[in-house]
């Protein structure tokens, strides 16, 4: 079922909640426990804007188990505006539309379906920035 494993990551997965260092202002994602010697309260929860640019991308055509219904799908490294880089799928994006440096924004989508007795895992993907 993996219930607790996905539940405890919900803030990061659903709204891209990372952490900001109260002293230096550094933003990190994903959130992590304090390093040895670091005070726990140094890092406060911080919701990232969800905007960034594609650092690189590829198309998965030989999927791992659990993703057989999805290929071909775009995966990318996205450099977020606040500095951290994340790995995620690109969505609402044609295969030939993806490009390095393309502006993207985060959306919440289904990541995978763990089957009849499991969860449907939701989380962040990125789509080409919608002009407003």
């Amino acid at each position: 079922m993996d219930l607790a494993k996905h539940w405890r990551l919900r803030h990061a997965r659903y709204r891209l909640e990372g952490q900001r260092n109260r002293l230096t202002g550094e933003v990190r994602f994903p959130p992590a426990p304090p390093h040895p010697g670091e005070a726990e309260e140094i890092w406060e929860p911080y919701v990232l804007s969800g905007r960034g640019r594609v650092y690189s991308f590829s198309i998965v055509r030989q999927p791992p188990e659990g993703f057989e219904d999805q290929p071909p799908y775009l995966v990318a490294l996205v450099r977020l505006d606040e500095g951290p880089m994340v790995t995620a799928q690109l969505t609402d994006c044609d295969l030939d539309q993806a490009a390095i440096d393309m502006p993207v924004e985060m959306v919440t989508r289904r990541l995978r379906d763990l089957g009849p007795t499991g969860l449907i895992v939701y989380g962040y993907k990125f789509r080409p920035m919608v002009q407003r």
């Binding site: 030989q62 791992p64 993703f67 995966v75 490294l77 790995t87 995620a88 995978r112 895992v121 989380g123």
Partner: protein
């Protein structure tokens, strides 16, 4: 610390061994490495395997293989560090012998991957990525290398075709390796025309995961002189880690653990970069070999692909690579790759590498990595 020597090597052919178990492959390789040395003389057995627990629902394969080899009771342990498992296991054996804790140790790398279908194998390989922040997005190891390849092309102005010399060299060399899975040459046209696996990586720039086992026997100096006419010294040995997730690194195109282990291993061998005459690195794709060479200090950033194009990675070049066929032509035995590397480089140093022989090779470097370099093991082999 005492000097450490390789006194025996053995390997099974790499391929689809439908009729063989992991234990049967491992014992064949071990027996071949031991030769006339009784297995009972071994003080410790280090078994490297990346996927046994996940694909075969079997842990403790150290005990399994010790039993199959007829030496139950021996100190045996399983080492898992993804594609670095073989090198990390060798490092444990080196430390055991160098410290004086044991005089004779064996390292066996074994992988049995063809018992399951492709999707399950891809998922097992993807266990080497970060489960919560990479694998959950459907990213495979191949896709992560593809992301790096595209970025590398973008930063340094290469085309996908420029990476073709890596698989072409691997296949040309694999012809001479009796253990290699693919013993035939390929052309640039074939590489270019291959279907895509994960753009910009095509099928002929992707290794094939396959079954196989390789073994080496490690001895102290005294025993090495007694038991072996042509021992090869392990002059440098190092393991280091990097962030598990690729996206956590300040420069994803830099494999910090490759850099660190190469520096450490060369320093302990009292050698410099220019002394190394033959290489084997984790090279499931050309981009992996390129980044390994650059991060390890054997090529400037952005130049390894150009060097390959100029022929530097062939047995006659300055940086001979994959002389046993590499992951691409030997076949990718994942956790056993690091041990196959040693078997092939020992053959190089003994002048037994056939048409892939590097003339006069006396110093070799073996480097294997888990995931995208999250664990890296680097060893320097020398003739005394």
């Amino acid at each position: 610390m005492r000097h450490v020597y390789i006194i025996g090597t053995g390997a099974t052919p790499v391929g689809e061994h439908w009729d063989r178990s992991a234990a049967s492959l491992a014992v064949e390789a071990l027996n071949s490495a031991l030769g006339t040395i009784p297995a009972a003389r071994l003080g410790a057995l280090y078994v490297a395997s990346a996927l046994s627990a996940s694909l075969h629902a079997q842990s403790q394969i150290g005990a399994l293989i010790a039993t199959a080899a007829g030496i139950p009771g021996i100190e045996a342990v399983t080492i898992e560090a993804g594609g670095a498992s073989g090198g990390v296991a060798l490092r444990q054996a080196c430390m055991a012998v160098a410290s004086g804790a044991v005089d004779l140790a064996a390292v066996v790398g074994v992988e049995k991957v063809t018992d399951v279908l492709d999707a399950r194998r891809e998922a097992a390989l993807a266990l080497a990525t970060d489960a919560d922040w990479e694998a959950i997005h459907g990213v495979t190891l191949t896709a992560l290398w593809a992301l790096l390849m595209r970025r590398y092309m973008h930063e340094y102005g290469y085309a996908a075709d420029d990476f073709a010399p890596f698989p072409i060299n691997a296949h040309a060399n694999g012809v001479a390796n009796p253990h290699a899975m693919y013993r035939f040459a390929i052309t640039a046209d074939k590489v270019r025309g291959a279907p895509m696996v994960a753009e910009p990586l095509g099928l002929l720039d992707c290794s094939t995961a396959a079954d196989g086992a390789a073994a080496v026997v490690i001895a102290s100096e005294g025993l090495a002189r007694e038991l072996c006419a042509h021992p090869v010294r392990i002059a440098g040995s190092a393991v280091a880690t990097d962030t598990l997730a690729l996206h956590s690194r300040s420069n994803p195109l830099w494999l910090a653990a490759a850099a660190q282990t190469t520096t450490t291993a060369l320093r302990s061998a009292h050698l410099t970069h220019g002394d190394v005459q033959v290489f084997d690195v984790t090279d499931p794709h050309g981009i992996a070999a390129a980044l390994a060479l650059e991060s390890s200090g054997f090529a400037e950033r952005g130049t390894a692909v150009a060097l390959a194009r100029e022929g530097a990675i062939t047995p006659k070049g300055r940086l001979p690579l994959a002389t046993g066929g590499g992951c691409k032509a030997r076949g990718d035995t994942v956790g056993a790759n690091g041990v196959y590397q040693i078997v092939e480089l020992v053959a190089q140093l003994r002048g037994q590498a056939g048409v892939a022989q590097v003339d006069g090779a006396r110093v070799a470097l073996a480097q294997c990595m888990g995931g995208i370099g999250a664990t890296v093991a680097t060893h320097i082999l020398t003739l005394d």
